[in-house]
């Protein structure tokens, strides 16, 4: 099968795979898991035609290890999984962050913990994405709400990973991953594709972890004459082990600053509905689609409700959410978990605006009635 042309009815997981291929991904390593497996299947079928390689690894630990290795060898690489596999990937996710390896991890969230409801949607890996690997670290995570957006956000995930030299997570969910919607893949030449910065010094003068002025070190590949020493142990700009306390402090600070100092470049949100509202919904992914429906339903009842949809989740858009809290009567956070991102909303709530949770934990797309009930509670 070749690249779909024109308007197509396509599943979100397929759109993800095509987004990755169009972003330049040429290596996929993964392990079968519902509800993400179609991403692997498309890659197995399509990547060879693009000169790429697909490999099914022995587990998710090996999958993320392989994509980190392939990225260091110069290939844009990604993997896809769901909750249990995402948990297995956490240790090596930290390796990727620490070694500053561009790669993309797609998590098509399902109900957990444990095996949970393996075929049903949830958004309960939000904090695992943020803090799942041990130690202080930064992370970038994006949350698509439509099949078309899955395609574009996958491209953006690769672009951000190359720009910041860091793993990027796509927090999808079973609804977005396995829903079929109309989508049109653009002409690949119309896309803005970002590539990692290569060294601009001679091999003799190259230190693989000496940052550019934006905090990101230019990146040679294994096989280049610029020697790369990538270590999961505390390292200085040479990449070799260095156990000095100031080296650790400098490295952790730079790894944080290179992302957090550029939060505005990463943050992406959508404002939906009237500018001013009695209640503002804050949501993301599949839940945000239900929120858009609820905005209309509330209007029929004479309640002015708007929506702040988070397209990027991490780093959390503190400023934008704080502003939204400041100009509304109350906030309802709608998410398919028992309350995860609501903690971040409360953290930035400088105006003591009442914040309510609309929690969808039924193993199904969040029910509009749950969100309406939270709105009514907020208006009491």
């Amino acid at each position: 099968m070749s690249r779909p042309e024109g308007i197509q009815l396509m599943e979100g997981n397929h759109a993800c795979a095509w987004g990755a291929i169009d972003a330049g991904a040429r290596f996929f390593a993964g392990y079968p898991i519902t509800p993400s497996s179609e991403i692997a299947e498309v890659c197995a079928r399509e990547l060879p035609a693009y000169g790429g390689i697909f490999i099914q690894m022995e587990d998710e630990i090996g999958s993320i290890a392989a994509i980190i290795g392939a990225s260091l060898s110069g290939k844009k690489s990604f993997t896809a999984t769901s909750g249990p596999g995402f948990s297995l990937m956490q240790e090596n996710l930290g390796v990727g962050i620490y070694q500053e390896v561009p790669c993309v991890i797609v998590d098509i969230q399902r109900v957990g913990p444990a095996t949970g409801l393996a075929t049903q949607p949830a958004q309960a890996d939000v904090m695992q994405a943020r803090w799942g690997t041990h130690g202080d670290h930064s992370i970038i995570a994006l949350s698509p709400a439509t099949v078309q957006e899955m395609y574009y956000l996958t491209i953006r995930a690769f672009n951000l990973s190359e720009r910041f030299r860091t793993p990027v997570i796509i927090l999808g969910d079973q609804v977005i991953g396995q829903t079929y919607e109309n989508i049109k893949l653009p002409d690949p030449s119309s896309l803005d594709i970002i590539e990692r910065i290569k060294p601009f010094v001679s091999p003799e003068d190259y230190f693989p972890y000496q940052p550019d002025k934006n905090g990101v070190p230019p990146m040679a590949a294994y096989g280049d004459r610029h020697i790369v020493h990538a270590s999961s142990t505390c390292h200085d700009e040479t990449g070799y082990s260095n156990f000095k306390t100031q080296t650790n402090r400098a490295l952790l600070t730079r790894l944080k600053d290179k992302i957090y100092n550029y939060t505005d470049e990463i943050v992406d949100v959508e404002h939906f509905g009237p500018d001013h509202a009695e209640v503002t919904l804050i949501s993301y992914g599949a839940s945000s689609r239900v929120c858009k429906y609820v905005v209309g339903e509330a209007e029929k009842e004479g309640i002015r409700v708007n929506l702040l949809r988070l397209i990027s989740i991490w780093p959390f858009p503190d400023r934008i959410v704080r502003e939204a809290l400041g100009k509304t009567g109350a906030v309802v956070v709608a998410e398919m978990n028992q309350g995860q991102l609501i903690g971040e909303v409360n953290r930035v709530n400088a105006t003591n605006t009442p914040v309510y949770l609309a929690s969808g934990i039924d193993g199904a797309l969040i029910d509009p009635d749950i969100i309406m009930a939270a709105i009514r509670e907020a208006l009491k």
């Binding site: 690249r3 169009d22 330049g24 040429r26 290596f27 390593a29 060879p48 035609a49 693009y50 000169g51 790429g52 390689i53 490999i55 690894m57 022995e58 587990d59 630990i61 090996g62 290890a65 392989a66 994509i67 980190i68 290795g69 392939a70 990225s71 260091l72 060898s73 110069g74 290939k75 690489s77 240790e91 090596n92 390796v95 002409d187 690949p188 030449s189 091999p203 590949a221 294994y222 096989g223 280049d224 004459r225 610029h226 020697i227 790369v228 020493h229 990538a230 270590s231 999961s232 142990t233 990449g239 070799y240 082990s241």
Partner: protein, 279 residues
């Protein structure tokens, strides 16, 4: 004109002294690896050393080649991606017995089964040295370690038999005592297409050796000689004596097609896309 630096072209001399204990054979293995690379004239930038975690996992810090130091047990999984990301590279995975066969056992058997073109060099010192001498999957039955004060109740793996069964193209066992043989086997492993594995029986004078082998570090090195026997010598032993010895030598040397060759045959690259990025 390029100066042939010999093994020092690969070995980071300014990182000396080695961090390993006096009497440990890891330095001997590292010297054999760097000499083999030098003899084969493989440029340092075409080599990636992928290390695990543990004493032998520190070896990357003494190498001037490309290097990857990742998480415990995963050197072959990272190495698989490194190799597939750039098939021209020589990928050498350095792992200890615990690293390769306990926490990394799953990756080990599957790398051998796939027959991916990686050379694994296992420094087998029969215990976890870095963490204080706990028993590993190769610790011989009834040996004393810090987590088996009454003796290990589990039999150890035969690393070579495991590698052969899983599908490796090249399998050899030697020791840190047999320096010439060590370099010869590593050289052969580097030349072999497909998965190659060299098991190097090593001393651990600080932990396993001190608890289980009488004498000083020199005696422990001599012990490596005493407990091993060549393939030919092994065949001549009485059945009752055979289990007292470890066989050294090239135990497997075959030509199964490696993973990438098979994959490429089954998945020929298609026409270049509009973006022309396939390569």
């Amino acid at each position: 004109m390029a100066v042939n630096l010999g093994y020092k072209e690969y070995f980071k001399s300014d990182a000396l002294p080695l961090m390993w204990c006096a009497g440990c054979g890891n330095g001997i293995i590292l010297r054999a690896i760097t000499e083999a690379l030098s003899d084969l004239h493989i440029p340092p930038h075409q080599v990636v050393i992928s290390t695990g975690i543990g004493c032998w996992g520190k070896a990357d810090d003494y190498m001037k080649t490309h290097a990857f130091h990742g998480s415990h047990g995963r050197a072959l999984a990272f190495g698989t991606g490194i190799k597939l990301g750039n098939p021209d590279l020589h990928v050498i995975a350095l792992m200890g017995d615990g690293d390769a066969l306990a926490i990394g056992g799953n990756h080990f058997i599957h790398a051998a089964r796939r027959n991916i073109d990686i050379t694994a060099i296992i420094s087998n010192n029969f215990n976890y040295g870095m963490t204080g001498g706990q028993y590993s999957p190769t610790t011989p039955l009834s040996s004393s370690t810090t987590t088996s004060p009454a003796g290990v109740a589990e039999p150890g793996f035969d690393v070579c038999a495991l590698s052969e069964t899983c599908g490796a193209n090249y399998v050899a066992r030697t020791t840190a005592y047999h320096v010439t043989q060590l370099k010869r086997f590593i050289t052969a492993a580097l030349l072999k297409q497909g998965f190659s594995m060299v098991e190097v029986i090593n001393t651990c004078p600080t932990h396993f050796g001190r608890r289980n082998i009488p004498g000083d570090t020199v005696s422990m090195m001599k012990y490596l000689k005493d407990i091993t026997v060549s393939k030919a010598g092994y065949e001549k032993l009485d059945e009752a004596d055979k289990e007292k010895y470890l066989v050294t030598g090239e135990l497997v040397n075959r030509e199964r097609p490696d993973y990438l060759s098979v994959y490429r045959e089954m998945n020929p690259s298609g026409p270049e896309t509009d973006r022309g990025e396939g390569h």
